[in-house]
């Protein structure tokens, strides 16, 4: 029964399942097992259904692989080929390990997306309750054209997802464990590696330079953890250490950050003091800045820690806030750094040294704003009313009537008309009514005397409208009916509509009658349903005629 299109990635023979010998197939989208001698699978799980895989410990006699599904069920495969059992199992495991995360993400993403949509949109949630929970239509149908675009291409409003920042302590999360024989074991996950790369682009660069040509991945990380770069209190920079260059680059980056100065003049400690004392005056001695030599090793290692903490925090912050700009950070910064030097000599390179000049020009506004902020006492002022922008109309009649066509145009050729029709058809294909947006208007137009109707009834009516609208949308989207699938659907939708009228609309109508409210409240709804029925009837009679 395996469909032709499926690609088989791995076949393992002599695998037992429920004490039956058989063959295990790992395919592009699912894992399947068939008993020996039969050409159909008795076990078949799409990868997206699998939560995790478990393997039996190495010492055990039976070499097994267990798949745990999201539903909680599990399936166990026993690799029975004596000589290659372990190898078979490893191969299957490896492959699964690569495949599962892909599908997991997809499944989770879909669920998450649905969940999110329901949470964000109360109307949709109500609709879901009305239609799906009360089993008017199935969940798949409900989501079918709502999530339509989701899997293929992200819909526009959600495409700019919020960036996830980096935990400040990602390096701390790599807890070394002693393996019992004088060694340390670090556990790295892809997340941590990504964090390291995002925060320290220099390491990423090293990685791409060295792995896998000169170092294996494992060796690379081993060296990383051994380097002074990871241990912030070590200051000796061995020349062989491939990370000493990273450290230098970081140093440079930090330097350029420092040299760039700060934008906010209120935190600029350099220009805080108005008049420093001349050299030689004052109580405090000048710091022995030049005599680095007499610093003890401990002192300079302490200073290194402090420096690196500052740098680390700055990098984490930068990586989180503007990931894209910072990917190529060391290059931009070094170029910035070098352009700083000729800034005071040449005036012809005004575009590059614009850095310093520009900042000078832009400073006053920032400064003004910050100063104003600093002197503001919000509670001493009368609360200012919300500032609104006054609408300034230059031509008020244009505003009232909307744009009018300058001249009416007549279609001259039939080609034009065909084009126009095509155009409209295209537009209509993408047309998506946003029911939640129009519902206000509906209830307003059809309920001229809202004060006559109690609010709970109004609410209920609103829900009915939304539900009916949704069903009708499904119904009408079936036309023109040109495939058998649509035929099935339109018939199902018709029955759905009828069911809706029976289970929802009629009780509501009765309720209205009981409360002596005008039954015309539901008139419009019924009208819409009747139109649909009419359409369906016409379609059916036509079909009958065609068949006969």
């Amino acid at each position: 029964m395996a469909s032709l299109s499926e690609e088989v990635l791995l076949v393992v023979k002599k695998v037992r399942q429920r004490k039956q010998d058989g063959t295990l197939y790992l395919m592009a989208e699912r894992i399947a097992w068939g008993p020996e001698g039969k050409d159909r699978f008795t076990v078949s799980h799409p990868y997206s259904d699998i939560r995790c895989q478990k393997i039996s410990p190495d010492g055990k006699a039976k070499v097994q692989l267990q798949l745990v599904l999201h539903t909680g069920e599990s399936t166990t495969f026993h690799f029975a080929n004596e000589s290659t059992a372990l190898k078979d199992r490893e191969a299957a495991k490896e492959l699964l390990q690569q495949l599962l995360p892909k599908f997991k993400k997809k499944a989770n993403k879909e669920l998450e997306e649905k969940n999110r949509m329901l949470q964000e949109d109360p109307v949709l949630f109500q609709l879901y309750k009305d239609l799906v929970v009360s089993q008017v239509i199935s969940a798949e149908e409900f989501w079918a054209n709502r999530l339509g675009g989701l899997n293929n291409s992200e819909p526009a409003p959600y495409s700019n997802k919020q960036e996830v920042g980096i935990s400040g302590a990602f390096l701390a999360d790599i807890r070394p464990q002693t393996d019992g024989c004088n060694g340390l074991r670090y556990n790295l996950t892809t997340d941590i590696i990504e964090s390291i790369f995002r925060t320290y682009p220099a390491v990423k660069q090293k990685y791409s330079e060295n792995v896998p040509h000169s170092l294996t991945e494992k060796e690379f990380w081993t060296r990383f953890f051994q380097s002074h770069y990871f241990h912030r209190d070590r200051i000796n920079t061995g020349t062989q250490d491939i990370f000493s260059e990273c450290a230098k680059q970081d140093e440079k980056g930090l330097m350029s950050l420092v040299n760039k100065g700060v934008k906010n003049p209120l935190v600029d400690l350099l220009s805080l003091e108005d008049k420093t004392l001349d050299e030689g005056y004052g109580l405090k001695q000048a710091l022995p800045s030049t005599s680095n030599t007499n610093k003890t090793v401990k002192e300079s290692s302490n200073a290194a820690i402090i420096k690196r903490f500052n740098h680390h925090s700055a990098m984490v912050l930068a990586a989180g806030s503007r990931k894209n700009c910072f990917c190529h950070h060391p290059f931009t910064d070094s170029s910035l750094f070098s352009s700083e030097v000729p800034a005071d000599q040449a005036s012809e390179t005004s575009s590059t040294d614009g850095n310093s000049r520009d900042s000078d020009f832009f400073q006053p506004p920032v400064k003004k704003v910050k100063l104003q902020e600093a002197i503001e006492y919000e509670d001493l002022q009368r609360e200012s009313k919300q500032k609104t922008v006054a609408l300034n109309l230059k031509k008020s009649d244009r505003y009232a009537h909307g744009p009018v066509p300058l001249q009416s145009q007549k279609y001259t050729t039939s080609q034009d008309i065909i084009n126009a029709v095509n155009c409209i058809q295209q537009e209509m294909a993408h047309y998506k009514p946003n029911l939640t947006q129009v519902r206000e208007q509906n209830s307003n137009t059809f309920l001229p005397s809202t004060e006559m109707v109690p609010s709970d009834i109004q609410g209920e009516l609103k829900h009915l409208y939304v539900a009916a609208g949704e069903l009708l949308r499904h119904f009408w989207s079936c036309f023109p009916v040109n495939t058998s699938f649509l035929e099935d659907k339109v018939i199902k939708m018709k029955s759905n509509l009828e069911r809706f009228q029976m289970t929802k609309l009629s009780p509501f109508k009765e309720k209205l009658q009981r409360q002596y409210l005008g039954t015309n409240l539901t008139g419009h709804l019924e009208e819409m349903l009747q139109t649909a029925y009419g359409k369906f009837h016409i379609w059916q009679t036509r079909r009958m005629m065609r068949k006969t």
Binding site: G165, S167, G168, A169, L171, A172, R232, D233, L257, V258, N259, G261, V262, N264, L266, V267, D268, L269, L270, S271, L272, E273, D274, K275, T276, L277, D278, G280, Y281, Q285, L287, P288, K298, E299, S301, N302, A303, I305, I306, K307, F309, N310, S313, A314, V316, L317, G320, S321, K367, K368, L371, Q372, A374, I375, Y377, D379, L380, Q381, R382, E383
Partner: protein, 760 residues
Amino acid sequence: MKLNIEGLLVYFPYDYIYPEQYSYMLELKRTLDAKGHGVLEMPSGTGKTISLLSLIVAYQKAFPLDVTKLIYCSRTVPEIEKVVEELRKLMEFYAKETGEVNNFLALALSSRKNLCIHPEVSSLRFGKEVDGKCHSLTASYIRAQRHSNPDQPVCRFYEEFDAVGRQVPLPAGIYNLDDLKDFGRRKGWCPYYLARYSILHANIVVYSYHYLLDPKIADLVSKELAKKSVVVFDEAHNIDNVCIDSMSVNITRRTLDRCQGNVETLQHTIQKIKDTDAAKLREEYRRLVEGLKEANIARETDVYLANPVLPDEILQEAVPGSIRTAEHFLGFLRRFLEYLKSRLRVHHVVQESAPQFLKDIFEKVCIDRKPLRFCAERLQSLLRTLEIADIADFSAVTLIANFATLVSTYSLGFTIIIEPFDDRTPTIANPVLHFSCMDPSIAIKPVFQRFQSVVITSGTLSPLDIYPKILDFRPVTMASFTMTLARTCLCPLIVGRGNDQVALSSKFETREDFAVIRNYGNLLLEMSAIVPDGIVAFFTSYVYMENIVASWYEQGILENIQRNKLIFIETQDAAETSMALEKYQEACENGRGAILLSVARGKVSEGIDFVHHFGRAVIMFGVPYVYTQSRILKARLEYLRDQFQIRENDFLTFDAMRHAAQCVGRAIRGKTDYGLMIFADKRYARADKRGKLPRWIQEHISDGSLNLTVDETVQLSKHFLRQMAQPFRQEDQLGLSLLTLEQLQSEDMLKKIAQIAHQA
């Protein structure tokens, strides 16, 4: 609103007023009425500046003859600019209410670095370079040389200003630093000299302390300011240190070497001039014979601010004959220099008083006291005569000359300490001669004497009575104001123990104790988990912070903290720290939250505010005592004990507590702000320490929060933070800590307000 402060109409540019602002203005008015000096402490964030400005401006308008000028001194450039902006707001309000055009001239003055618009000069990085370069373009003889040599570069902005700038006074208005620059650019005038010239007729001048307190600068800038001025020192809690700094001198081997070079250069120049233009030197000689008569007349007629480096007595005398000719003076300087060199060749620490030093110098090299006293003045005259272009090059010889004058003028209030090496590095010879001022009143005395009213104010001046003592003046008003609060928005907690009952303290004996360091780390870790946004932690010294950070790193505490917040640390490099600060603010701003580890007495603790979410908690690790082993400090303590009867411990505690208060006060910058103030040292619980905190902090320390464990602190903090996170609207404050005009006028309220001011 318009207020009636004991009969004075005060325009206040807000719709509401804090009760303490009203009370503050009352006290201030009484000070001005009495034409005396005042000490006023009011919590930061209660609108001290605007109260001051409103009242004094109103006073100036009402009694233009009694108070002609307001001289407002602040500490940092941003502070200065803030004051001017507040003033602008006030003046706009005046214009709106009265409909009159503002006729006040108010301006900020700052160093050349902040005002220069010369494209080349202003691009220099350091203030000193800017000053030097400016001087080389604008000195009078440089400009005179231009007449004969048109290629001589001069500053066109200065030339333009000199040609026309003085004829028309600066039009009335409010000029911040940037406004001055704009104005200068438009007119093509030098904003710096324009500002310096304009302060003479301005109604309000805002500048830094140094322009009044540092005799070297005050003599240039503030000498001719009107006597009927009101001087305000804002953020004045450190004013004594500023005074002392401006009068102290350190001389190292390097200074002497450079001085030697200077003397050689002078020698050459004199020789050259002698060959070409001997008349110049003769002219100078004549002037010196006549003495400093001009200066004397000016001072007697009360036109000038006295210069403490130039004491009264020497003005009445002519320069002594032994140093009148240029060569003689140079010889004299050489001898003095050699003597100093010999003094620096010591192997043990020497401490002596000024008279002892004078006696020694007389015995060894036969230098009398009298010529020494004229040294500074004589050198100035020589430099002028020789037309030295770059004064900055001669800073070393100027320093030595100033030292000579000071040491021979003041027999009291100074001490000389010669240390052959730094205490931390006893093997490296690095002799230093400290000539340190111990009496801040020397530098500030001319200010008190000259100006009618001097107001010293800050958020933290407690205990109030110590300032009049150490600055040696008699104030007519001394008051401390509390902060009226509708909700207790500050929460001072004293953490005395760790969870394991280990006493927490930064005292010397337990400084290296791992248990204490670990508990400090625990406290920070726990707080980082519960406090939103920013936390600022202060350590007692830089070395202490380095050690703690290192051991926190080893113990893995910092890593755990990083899980909650990013960590930024103050370094000794100002540029690096600025960057860290900005990143810290960015991290607070984008919601990640951050911790700033900083140092009490450091630049951050003095100049940076942590408003709102930038500082939800301040943790003070330990009591920030000054390094007590320093000999200079010991000498100063001794002096304070002998002269002012201030006990050593009292002063040390006072000094530590004012810095602690400064640190924790950084977090609260207004009534809508809130913050935790955590004092992590059990010594804070003692009455002598606690009693020296400002009243507005003290009154919120409950008896229950005197010796908390870390866990208890966390519990209390959580509670506090949750309460504070509730919405806080203006209505909640109205009538309690915020008043409308009607509420202010009610009897009850006036009675209540009378209690706010706490007379010391």
